[in-house]
């Protein structure tokens, strides 16, 4: 693949021969073109050597692990963690943002492993949920200290693991009455917004939806349907708030809007998961179809591919639910789909008419 400079030289020669660029500017233009830094052979060999040395160290420690005294094993674990933290601090001091980000994520992962290994070394009986949550909170503290999006993603993953690693999946079987993700994911959303980190914003928004879904489905005093409607309302308000900031907020509002739409349609679907063929179910299916169509229309109008896709998937799910509800009652299903088809076609015709000069 030709380098940028080589392509620029060819283009410049063509433009000069076409009279688009003066010949005297050729040297000055080429002097401004900077080739991206490339990994030369020496640096590549150095990296390979460092990785192999790391692998050799890990293999040596693993082979001799059982023969080491407990205090020595613990010291090695602590040393690995402190080395990662020290490296991250030094990288931050030198303004090497990417290196600091990566090393903080590594430190967070090492700490999680250190907690587990400490329990193994000293035969400390522990609760997996408590261990994962503790590791997640430390990872979150490291992320906040270093403004590290990667460490924040690790934190959310560990906390999500802790929410799942509960001993009892019956009502209230965990250490807390609600999944911890419901409280910590919004912090991740805020961090993603403030740090302008798209990956973190995506992960945090998804984590929030997962946490809310966990809360909705978990057993408790309030019926699942009621919790679902509350979650649907909450997600719809968030989606509206995010959409209101499309013009002024840059990327984050558009990003959060997509996830809020997904959450709203997901909770709307869960709210009507009962099988009763009554008026309430009919109203729910109608609302579900309308909301899905609305997501598709708004997504196209806003050029927001993600929410359009979510709307289409939700529409298909709503259609499937109606077919399952009505069983062999295909005439009723045909009537309902025809009504919405006419509505969609009419709306499209009106919008097309307005867009023409």
């Amino acid at each position: 693949m030709a380098s940028y400079r080589a392509r620029l030289e060819r283009d410049l020669d063509r433009w000069i021969s076409d009279g688009l660029v003066p010949a005297g500017s050729r040297a000055a233009i080429l002097s401004e073109a900077h080739e991206p830094k490339r990994l030369d052979a020496a640096a590549a060999l150095g990296l390979v050597g460092a990785m192999l040395l790391g692998a050799a160290t890990i293999a040596f420690v693993a082979a001799n692990w059982d023969g080491m005294a407990r205090w020595l094993r613990f010291a090695l674990v602590l040393l690995a963690f402190l080395a990662a933290v020290g490296g991250a601090a030094e990288a931050a001091r030198r303004d090497r943002a990417h290196a600091a980000n990566a090393l903080l994520a590594l430190a967070a992962l090492i700490f999680a492993a250190a907690l587990g290994l400490t329990g193994q070394i000293f035969d400390i009986a522990g609760d997996p949920q408590r261990l994962l949550w503790s590791a997640g909170l430390v990872a979150g503290a490291l992320a906040a200290a270093g403004r590290s999006s990667a460490a924040a993603v690790v934190a959310l993953a560990l906390i999500a693991g802790g929410d799942i690693a509960r001993e009892d999946w019956g009502p209230g079987g965990g250490l807390l009455p609600a999944p911890l993700l419901v409280l910590t994911a919004p912090l991740g959303v805020i961090a993603g917004w403030r740090w302008r980190s798209t990956p973190l914003a995506h992960v945090a928004a998804l984590a929030w939806v997962m946490g809310l879904l966990h809360l909705v489905l978990d057993g408790g005093a309030v019926e699942i349907s009621a919790r679902s409607w509350l979650a649907f309302t909450f997600a719809t308000v968030l989606a509206a708030a995010a959409r209101a900031r499309f013009g002024s907020g840059g990327t984050p509002p558009r990003l959060f809007y997509g996830w809020a739409v997904l959450g709203a349609l997901l909770f709307l679907g869960v709210a009507g998961a009962q099988e009763a063929a009554d008026a309430a179910t009919f109203l729910h299916r109608t609302l579900w179809l309308a909301a899905s169509l609305g997501a598709v229309v708004l997504g196209r109008a806003d050029r927001h591919g993600f929410s359009t896709t979510v709307g289409v998937v939700s529409l298909l799910a709503a259609v499937l639910a109606i077919l399952l509800d009505l069983g062999l009652g295909l005439m009723a299903a045909a009537g309902l789909f025809t009504a919405f088809a006419v509505l969609a076609l009419a709306l499209g015709w009106v919008l097309r008419g307005r867009s023409r000069p």
Partner: protein, 203 residues
């Protein structure tokens, strides 16, 4: 700004490391200063998993001739009760299980620890007579990390004795030595096999 951020990272990392050290120190203190109990232990197999060599243990006791199960209260949402352990001969046995610690301590005897109890008692059918009542206790101590040689030697010793508690002293039973702290948590101190005690040493 860069120095400030580096300082924050170092402070959080240092605090986390100190937290780990404090956890080990606390566990060591609680283990050394808790009340020691001995509970009958089932034979176990040495395992070599990603966590390293360890031996899985099960606290299993038998009451002869189908004695009734000890009274147990309704467990909490995580299946636990406050267990009263009483010394009976060469071991501590489950005497009762209560819903709250206060109720358990009001009995005024034995050691109180939080855990799960599963008791299987044979019914009164003639075919089941003579079968023992089996009590399995889960105090959160499920494994004993030992190197493979040590774990296999312990397993062979248990195989010679069958790993089953015996009453008449013909063969020594196997016991888990557990320290129960003031917080009601159980911590494994060691095992006793064929009269030989193997303690967990932190250092």
């Amino acid at each position: 700004m860069s120095l400030w951020r580096a300082g924050r990272i170092a402070a959080v990392g240092g605090a986390a490391a100190l937290g780990l050290i404090a956890l080990v120190a606390w566990e060591s203190h609680a283990r050394e200063n808790g009340t020691e109990v001995r509970m009958a232990m089932e034979a176990f197999d040495p395992r070599n998993l990603l966590t390293g060599h360890y031996a899985a243990i099960e606290l299993r006791d038998e009451l002869p001739d189908g004695s009734p199960c000890p009274p147990l209260a309704e467990p909490d949402r995580r299946g636990r009760v406050w267990i009263v352990l009483r010394r009976a001969g060469d071991r501590d046995r489950v005497a009762a299980g209560f819903a709250t610690r206060a109720e358990a301590e009001s009995l005024g005897v034995g050691v109180v620890v939080l855990g799960r109890v599963d008791c299987q008692s044979p019914n009164a059918a003639p075919a089941s007579r003579g079968l023992p009542t089996v009590i399995r206790t889960d105090l959160g101590v499920e494994r004993f990390h030992a190197d493979q040689d040590e774990a296999e030697a312990i397993e062979r010793a248990l195989a010679r004795g069958g790993g089953r508690p015996v009453e008449d002293g013909r063969l020594p039973a196997a016991f888990a030595v557990i320290s129960v702290g003031d917080d009601g948590r159980a911590r494994l101190k060691g095992v006793i096999v064929e009269g030989r005690r193997i303690d967990l040493d932190f250092f």
